[in-house]
Point group: C2
Chain length 328, copies 2
């Protein structure tokens, strides 16, 4: 039975955090502020508390924080996940209010010339998550550092299962091996969480659960404050998944573009190398783009035809994305 007596307001604060992704020169980039938040010199994402008196919805509040902190205009915005254990050491002992993070994915076109605050820059996503970039084959850090360290971690409790019934060895195989020659580009969060659980990322040290192995391996990507790297991992995974069934990628492209530029964009985000003809055939028969008639010169070879996104596909039906194939 639900109690009806008036409850004291519980000490909970809502924090809104944005993973703002853009792509420039074939690198997917995340907007990060260096040395933000007062937690040492780590990078952080734009974020701020949600004040329901000032902003009617989360999204309005988020846009306001991002605008104030970075000046970057947001296009596509999507809620990702709400994390109840932000700095996972959070315990009853603390005097501070408990903080709950609502993470958002936002996409923006990068304007090379737009002014950003001094400590704020677009930085490659793969600087924070280097094991996610398979465009030039399996990243060396996986075989050289991650797999050996995780194997030791696995050996420590070989039979223990997680909530989904998987042992550590199962997860290692599923997440860091190309099973059937395939790398699953969408399980970004699971990979990050496994490294965190095993105590192999800096954030684990901060939360008091670092592995003794942590000091024996090179740092696995640049750390971030609070749970921001976790939010970035969630954002990248979601974007990779969404791109396959919704035309979100065009939120990142300029008005007109070549097919090669589009493919490079898809590769940057999915972290995989794609097959040229198959990519083009797919784009063609999905009818998501149309030629402008112009060509782009000065690419070093034959000029490329320019295309634009056919906005009408949004009105048509299942609003197709780019179902990128298995591998190039």
């Amino acid at each position: 039975m639900t109690s009806v007596e008036p409850r004291p307001t519980l000490p909970v604060e809502i924090n809104l955090t944005a993973a703002i992704i853009a792509v420039s020169q074939g690198e997917p980039a995340i907007l990060a502020m260096r040395g933000s938040g007062g937690s040492g010199a780590s990078d952080g994402l734009p974020s701020g508390p949600f004040n329901p008196l000032a902003h009617r919805t989360f999204e309005i509040g988020l846009r306001s924080w991002v605008s104030e902190q970075t000046g970057v205009p947001l296009g596509y915005v999507e809620q990702l996940y709400t994390f109840g254990d932000r700095g996972r050491h959070a315990e009853a002992q603390s005097e501070e209010p408990h903080v709950v993070s609502v993470g958002y994915l936002a996409l923006t076109r990068m304007a090379e010339d737009s002014p950003l605050p001094a400590n704020t820059r677009f930085r490659s996503c793969y600087g924070y998550l280097p094991w996610e970039d398979w465009r030039a084959g399996k990243p060396r850090v996986i075989e050289e550092a991650i797999v050996p360290a995780l194997q030791k971690w696995t050996a420590r409790e070989p039979t223990r299962q997680n909530a989904r019934g998987l042992t550590r060895a199962d997860r290692l195989r599923i997440l860091f091996d190309e099973t059937n020659g395939r790398f699953d580009d969408e399980t970004v969060l699971d990979r990050y969480e496994m490294l965190y659980e095993a105590g192999l990322v800096e954030e684990a040290k901060r939360d008091g659960r670092a592995s003794p192995l942590l000091s024996t391996i090179p740092p696995l990507g640049t750390p971030m404050i609070h749970d921001h790297r976790r939010i970035l991992a969630t954002a990248l995974g979601r974007l990779r998944a969404k791109m396959k069934y919704r035309p979100v990628i065009f939120e990142l492209m300029p008005e007109t573009f070549t097919l090669t530029a589009l493919q490079t964009m898809a590769e940057a985000i999915s972290g995989r190398h794609l097959h040229k003809q198959n990519f083009r055939r797919f784009v063609e028969n999905a009818a998501v783009v149309e030629p402008t008639g112009e060509t782009e010169h000065g690419t070093g070879g034959r000029p490329a035809a320019l295309f634009r996104f056919r906005r009408e596909v949004l009105q048509e039906r299942p609003a197709q994305g780019l179902r990128v194939g298995a591998r190039g």
Copy 2:
């Protein structure tokens, strides 16, 4: 620049709400409490405030509320979405703390005999969302009530576009028409949201945005308190999507089952009729089940072979679901 001075805790309360789905006798059912919450006699989902001092994570808090209010054991649990505008009339004027709802999907096997509190029962999902049940063809309520009413709503502002660039007519066509003979079973939330926006569901009246048409049509499904029907719609859509790529459906099945029972389950959830052979072939070559060797008699005809879920598929790779085909 983030301010570092101590902020007063903002008056925000986190509410945890569970859409608990089970299936019995071919009907997908949602656990609902009649006349709960003090908001009149409407139905509500199990829910309660999150107290970080009592519960370390949202999920622990949620399980505790559900257990206390209903006694139902939860199997699979997944976070859905966090709604910042629960009873969307929420405005600064109110004295009460602002409430933010974190919605969860949970699955459970229905035990026919288990005792439930008096006001609590599993009720058909399609009682709340009748336009989602296409198993026997297009639901009559769509052509008879929904489409005419939405057409009038569309005509009122024919050129207005929403955030995704869609006009009302676009949305009507996309959401309530079988485009290319296909009904998109995953866009449950979009359909509910369109009806809400158009003021055609009871909840809109409560929030002061009912359409004058509301009294001219039969009620569109049973209403719920707060945003609970919205959470149910989110849950059903997510479950329909997830079922296609993860074997979550087995969380709802008994230990052993016939293939027909499995198909009935998939149909109950997806709201569509499926093709028998194709369904069986899919199950077969996904290798997600194995025969027990037993058969079930007394089904009225030839006895059916019994199967069980192969738990090993969780260890194998992309943990397949039931990719239900277009239509039966």
